[in-house]
């Protein structure tokens, strides 16, 4: 058991609905602030995050016929004429397609543009940047099961946020846990590429993002690159940034074991994959 102590601060959470799922922002209560001021701060922060998600959804949602993404899919708008935001996300997604050798792709099998595989991760990343800009050091943002944290649930300590990962066979139970953030929340703390991989604590300390993809996932933006039976029911990836975690989790579900091995060699991540038969594959950071 890695968890050494329970958070001593009471947590407060706010939620809103966007992108077809629910986004939760959780913060520890600040004992040095009047309760009402702390509550107002959380309300204001949630409003900022919600507006950011809503604006991105209005651009990228394929469920809204009037969105820019929908107009692109219908051919009413060409990519070169699209907004800078749209082109930036396409460029980012296209780069990930190269890096994952096609396991992650911004296009559907019929060639239609679909950036939904990267938009939620991007929204979480932008929300995290906004929260830090607001001066908030300790928070946990969960968007439909993808998590980004900062600091600790117990401010002033190095206690990590402890994330549970649902069991795909029974979503009411947890398959595993993983520590996020804590003492060394700054990703740049670890010397690039040479962090000791055997140390779980140091390992978990460098990871602030955890993303999970499933083969039975909503909004089927995962296209199997293996063209056969799905190898993984669910893949969780912990990384130093949420887009990397999200994209690689998606890519591994689509690309199977070969993409899993490629991802663990190429990127500084921890991964936990659930095979179709329920067996687990895990990197060292997920071991007890």
């Amino acid at each position: 058991m890695q968890q050494t102590s329970e958070p001593t601060h009471r947590l407060r959470a706010r939620t809103f609905t966007c992108m077809g799922t629910v986004i939760s922002l959780t913060v520890p209560t600040d004992a040095h602030k009047p309760p009402q001021a702390a509550a107002d701060e959380l309300e204001a922060a949630t409003a900022v995050v919600e507006r950011l998600f809503t604006e991105l959804d209005s651009v990228f949602s394929l469920y809204r016929p009037d969105s820019e993404a929908s107009r692109l899919v219908r051919g009413e708008l060409a990519l070169p004429a699209a907004s800078a935001e749209m082109r930036a996300r396409y460029e980012e997604a296209a780069e990930w397609r190269l890096l994952t050798e096609g396991a992650f792709t911004p296009e559907r099998p019929d060639g239609g543009l679909d950036l939904s595989g990267i938009v939620k991760g991007h929204a979480i990343r932008e929300a995290g940047t906004s929260l830090l800009a607001l001066g908030m050091a300790n928070w946990c943002l969960n968007a439909g099961g993808d998590v980004l944290v900062s600091g600790s649930p117990s401010p002033g300590t190095d206690v990590p946020w402890w994330a549970g990962i649902v069991d795909p066979a029974d979503r009411r139970t947890l398959l595993a846990g993983f520590p996020l953030g804590g003492g060394f929340s700054a990703p740049s703390f670890a010397p690039a590429g040479l962090a000791p991989l055997s140390g779980k604590t140091a390992d978990g300390g460098t990871r602030v993002a955890l993303a999970t993809s499933g083969s039975a996932e909503r909004g089927d933006h995962i296209w199997s690159a293996t063209a056969g039976a799905v190898e993984f029911l669910q893949v969780s990836v912990a990384a130093a940034d949420v887009v990397t975690a999200d994209v690689l989790a998606t890519a591994i579900v689509a690309g199977g074991v070969s993409m899993l091995n490629r991802a663990t060699v190429m990127w500084d991540i921890e991964a936990l994959a659930v095979r179709a038969n329920g067996e687990l594959l895990a990197t060292g950071g997920f071991r007890r």
Binding site: G20, T21, V22, S24, C140, D146, A176, E217, R218, Q234
Partner: protein, 179 residues
Amino acid sequence: MRIRAAVSAALASAGILLVGWQSGVHVADTRSAAAAAATGNQASGTGTTDSSGTASSGSSGSGGSAAGSSGSTGTAGAAGAAGAAAKAGGTYDGEVVQTRFGTVQVQIIVKSGQITDVTALKLTDAEGRSMQISNYAAPILRDEVLQAQSANVQTVGGATVTSDAYLTSLQAALDAANL
């Protein structure tokens, strides 16, 4: 030339294979003597710091160079001594390679042009301690993964849930408890 290419490629492969090894084998450094006995010449890798070592597979001039590399830690690639003598067999050491997992060096034994054994000579981190050089995702039992109960987590990760499914999710229970 073909054999040298094959040996180089095999060494590069061995370097990749090493990434799959977890043991902390730390064999005494016998490379100089062994290599000298085998061929009398040795090529230095010309690759980049690419951890795979493949960049060095085509190092030029390895056959003719008489200046043996001392295996300085700055050079990369797993290209080792090869040359015509490889046909007769012998023991060859790869260059010391810096990877993101630490310092790696392998030794191969060649018989009749075939690699018959691969040994890790160096498999240590910067502090000289043995370390895991692989982050390979290996099969694991359910009771071997980091455990968590819903009562002691602050958030719940999982494949995206719809806003309807959220209502009955563990995350919803956590959020409700913290409202």
